[in-house]
Symmetry: C2
Subunit: 472 residues, 2 copies
């Protein structure tokens, strides 16, 4: 059975039982059933609760055994001591996917938790059931209107091609609201929790073949089988970019990891080195994780590291240049032809070499477009950063540049930064992103993602070269 | 004459002439007069334009000489070649402050620009006129409803006690919209541009005594008299925190600086070292500049570097710990008493040492409050980071913690991160910030500002100690 088939009941179920579903908002089961309903799930929904005949308008069943039809996915949010029993009932019912929300297993500071988790592992492995969790916030598949979590608001996240796999549910609750502010469309959002029988490597293999995932982003605390993770990541990263944020860099968070999801974080530097070897892009902040994933989601891969920086305000251009150079990018030396053309276009009051500052020409849209287009086709330029902060006099600039930027973005990556107050430029920014031109809130963030996608493209090229040489 | 008096006509004018004011939105003068009007300026407004009898509803005058009353501040946005003549007219009129928007002077790639700027300097120095600019976006004083810039939207920025002084107007156009999203209240926003006769050191001396400025943030490209800047900064920083973002770290942006505002950036590392010596906090991104200024604006100074991290989701706590340790902070060792009390309060499913994860107790508000309060009074804790991402089940958490956090913030700095989708928690976050508890969008940003305010407090203490020893 292929990986897509193995996880079909988890990510594309036709029917769902919510064990522990409740009409009482003080119970997690209430939030689980609400998430499924408000997520707009199109399949069948079966609340399971021995104390209620109806939950949130749906007929409820005393046990999963009593559900009259087939159940693909069981979401479980009940006290931990009855979980093994319920899991066994799921097995008997023929359920193939479980999202186990309940916490208090391997990560607990007592002896009962780990023991219960081993029991669950034995049953589910015996019956070939995939378990997401325990100790997870759940999973979300925006392409299937599936919100199998305890937070209905995950369904507000924009649909797209980024998948996020996180050991920490809190991290998913951080990235989702960030994406609502800063952009980024998601496919699957997955909280692995204690990884009873589904670990990072397994999910990577699934996402490798998932046609709705183009970019994979990971938040890792610690794993038990790092070797397998690196092997799988190394293979998958040749096909799809993987961006990793590894927590547990220092001793305190490392120790905390054990109590959180049951694994030591450990060996931060080893992780980084191994990921680099595997063509995996590592980042060190949640914003950069999201920003980089968004760039991979939208941009084509750059053919080199030579960047053109064009700004409407020189200060922003200087910041972008600093960040580019700090991250190993080159500020492109434009061809003589380009330089000549720009000198014709821009008055001597502007900065006319790369970085190019349009200065006083910033409200002469024809000139702005022509400058951007001229630099965009320069053969010495592998990627571009375009920056313009809103000022009352340049209000039309984003709209005026959109078509030009879209056209260039078909050939090479174009990242932008258009800071603006209130709701100004919202529509324009959305249009740019829908045309594969990502927009970032600061010049630093725009330049940094460019460095990350260049790094990935270079790593791929160097692997390909090595492979070719090995054949000689 | 004291500094406050010297700059009174610039920052608190009773009457303003806008030279070049126009009803034509294609002219910068249109945006200048609009900014003054929409900013709600309470004093007298005199448009100066030889071709119009009225501009935007105000009677216009052919020249500043024709204005019937005294003019405190002249905002000038006219072609560069007539600027010296108009400046002389201002001098004759008795104007003591000029905001010179026009560009194309010292920074221009021709010989005319620098010559014109020298002429302006001679006249204004002779008459004791202070000039902000030329080549500036202007200035904003939110405490005087004064928007002497070409962007009316600066008046949307929240009023507060942070002043921003920037060589680049673009940078002000970046920070203002960021502050609308991420918080931070401003006093003065000042674009220095070419610094004809008002440089960073002068403005620092002014802000040193300005009762409406508590924190000073600077964006510097390059200055001509670095020694004086460091001397003044060193004195001012003992009274008010100064946060500096220095551009021109690498060669390209360094070169760009000359063409932008007429000075080489140069010597990045020397700047950093000199600022450190002067107790000035240096940062390397626009977000961190704003975040740090906001922390200084709201928080009391920490007495040491021992941090307590309390989270509702362990993943966020781990991230915050990593950032703290990476930036030289210590994760506090809680007193035996505190540890004991927390073990009574939290079940063994939570992480009960610092970092503390409230885990399953996150919707038992009484317990949450008690944990936060217990840690807040621990004598081993100098500052706190509180983190909770919104999840449907913990919606009341911010409201429930607000009073406790407010109380602790009177004694020691408390920074927080409460990621939430859409408009959720907006009101709660505003209330926290109005009670001196800053809220940040990510755990990294929360922890990083704590590192910066600790660094400043440590630098002050070490200077004080040195001063005491010198007296022995």
């Amino acid at each position: 059975m292929g990986r897509l088939e193995e996880y079909k009941d988890i990510f594309y179920p036709a029917s769902i039982a919510v064990v522990g579903a409740s009409a009482n908002p003080k119970k997690l089961g209430y939030h689980c059933i609400t998430s499924i309903i408000r997520g707009g799930f199109k399949g069948k929904i079966y609340p399971v609760n021995p104390k209620s005949a109806k939950v949130c308008g749906f007929k409820a069943y005393p046990s999963i055994k009593d559900v009259p039809d087939k159940v693909d996915l069981a979401i479980i949010a009940i006290p931990r001591h009855i979980v093994p029993e319920v899991v066994k009932e799921c097995a008997d019912k023929g359920v193939k996917g479980i999202v186990l929300i309940t916490a208090g297993f391997k990560e607990a500071e007592d002896q009962i938790g780990p023991k219960l988790e081993r029991e669950i592992a034995v049953i589910t492995n015996q019956y070939g059931i995939k378990v997401i969790g325990p100790n997870t916030f759940g999973i979300v598949n925006l392409h299937a209107d599936l919100n199998a979590s305890f937070t209905p608001e995950f369904s507000m996240v924009e649909k797209g091609n980024i998948s996020l796999v996180s050991q920490s549910g809190g991290f998913c609750h951080l990235i989702a609201p960030l994406s609502l502010k800063d952009g980024g469309g998601f496919s699957k959002i997955i909280g692995l929790g204690n990884r009873c029988n589904v670990d990072f490597a397994d999910i990577l293999e699934y996402l490798e073949g998932d046609p709705e995932t183009k970019v994979i982003s990971l938040f890792i605390e610690g794993v038990d089988n790092a070797r397998r993770l690196f092997e799988v990541a190394s293979r998958v990263a040749r096909k799809k970019p993987i961006v990793v944020y590894k927590a547990g860099k220092f001793k305190t968070s490392d120790k905390a990891s054990l109590s959180h999801t049951g694994s030591f974080a450990g060996g931060y530097d080893l992780y980084r080195a191994a990921f680099k070897q595997a063509c995996v892009v590592t980042v060190n902040s949640s914003e950069v994780l999201l920003d980089t994933a968004k760039a991979f989601s939208l941009c084509s891969l750059p053919k080199g590291n030579r960047i053109a920086v064009i700004s409407a305000q020189a200060g922003l251009g200087m910041i972008a240049c600093d960040l580019c150079e700090e991250n190993g990018l080159e500020i492109a030396v434009l061809t003589e032809e380009t330089v000549q053309r720009i000198k014709e276009l821009l008055p001597p009051l502007s900065i006319r070499t790369n970085p190019i500052d349009m200065g006083p020409a910033w409200y002469d849209w024809e000139t702005c477009r022509e400058v951007v287009k001229t630099v965009g086709i320069d053969k010495n330029v592998d990627a571009m950063v375009i920056l313009a902060a809103y000022a009352s006099a340049n209000k039309p600039i984003v709209m005026e540049l959109t078509e030009t930027l879209k056209t260039i973005a078909c050939q090479k990556p174009v990242v932008t930064c258009f800071p603006s107050p209130g709701n100004i430029w919202l529509r324009e920014k959305r249009e740019l992103e829908s045309a594969n031109v990502p927009v970032y809130p600061t010049p630093e963030r725009a330049a940094r993602v460019l460095a990350n996608i260049v790094k990935y493209a270079e790593a791929l090229r160097s692997k390909a070269k090595f492979a070719t040489q090995s054949h000689l």
